[in-house]
Symmetry: C2
Subunit: 147 residues, 2 copies
């Protein structure tokens, strides 16, 4: 959608530059590599990416990718740049570390809950419900290891 809107903007206005060319004060060519992803109405998006990665590096990274991959690459670079501006020391590595801690904590809690389920099932007098519960436990175990 942004691609269409940026292309239309340049076709209709002819001289309306994308956010990148506006910041870099250069002519926005018809085949500008930034224009489809950095529309003029979102100037902060390019400003942050430029501050963290540098326009020249972003240009190079986009040129090295196929057109189908560029939109995702820009989104991930914008995410990383915003994270680095918010947290200049850890950037989005801070989020990775926090998520990894959550995964470790949840795995430990799940192991405790599953161990307790096994104990409770062993005490169950009804053998048919015991069988059903055991099958269920096997499924939970499988999904845990597939993470």
């Amino acid at each position: 959608m942004r691609e269409g809107s940026a292309a239309a903007g340049r076709k209709n206005g002819a001289l309306s530059p994308c956010a990148a060319c506006k910041l870099l004060r250069r002519r926005c060519a018809q085949d500008c590599v930034f224009a489809p992803y950095f529309p003029a109405d979102e100037p902060h998006k390019f400003a942050n990416v430029h501050k963290v990665f540098g326009a020249s590096n972003v240009n190079k990274m986009l040129q090295e990718l196929g057109e189908q991959q560029r939109s995702d690459a820009v989104s991930s670079m914008v995410y990383e740049a915003n994270a680095r501006i918010r947290d200049p020391v850890y950037g989005c590595v801070g989020a990775i570390s926090s998520l990894q801690q959550q995964v470790d904590s949840l795995r430990a809690q799940l192991a405790v809950a599953q161990a307790e389920l096994v104990q409770l099932r062993m005490r169950e007098p009804n053998s048919s419900s015991h069988l059903a519960s055991s099958n269920h436990q096997a499924n939970v175990g499988e999904s845990l290891w597939s993470c």
Copy 2:
């Protein structure tokens, strides 16, 4: 340790440049901002950070931080740069997305296990073990929400 080794290297050899100055082909000054974190024997570390962020941006980002924070900032930038070189489309945002999926999946599995524990405990005939289990469940629940 790296700070000491880099400083000693420059004091003893006087002209031995750090990995950054070597790559940028410039004189490595006594107060070089890169030298403590990019020793000459780890050239790929600076090469990747330079390729992704650009030496000028890394320099600026380090100058804006206190000396105590620079080592962590370099480590997180090296991590991000390596991830972007390994995966030019998603970089370390790919790891964030994968970890977030693991957290969601583990939370769902824990909720299922906890619901099953509640059911099994309600069927338990022994009230003292029921009480002990209930207390345990409250703790597990608290740790879940503290994530």
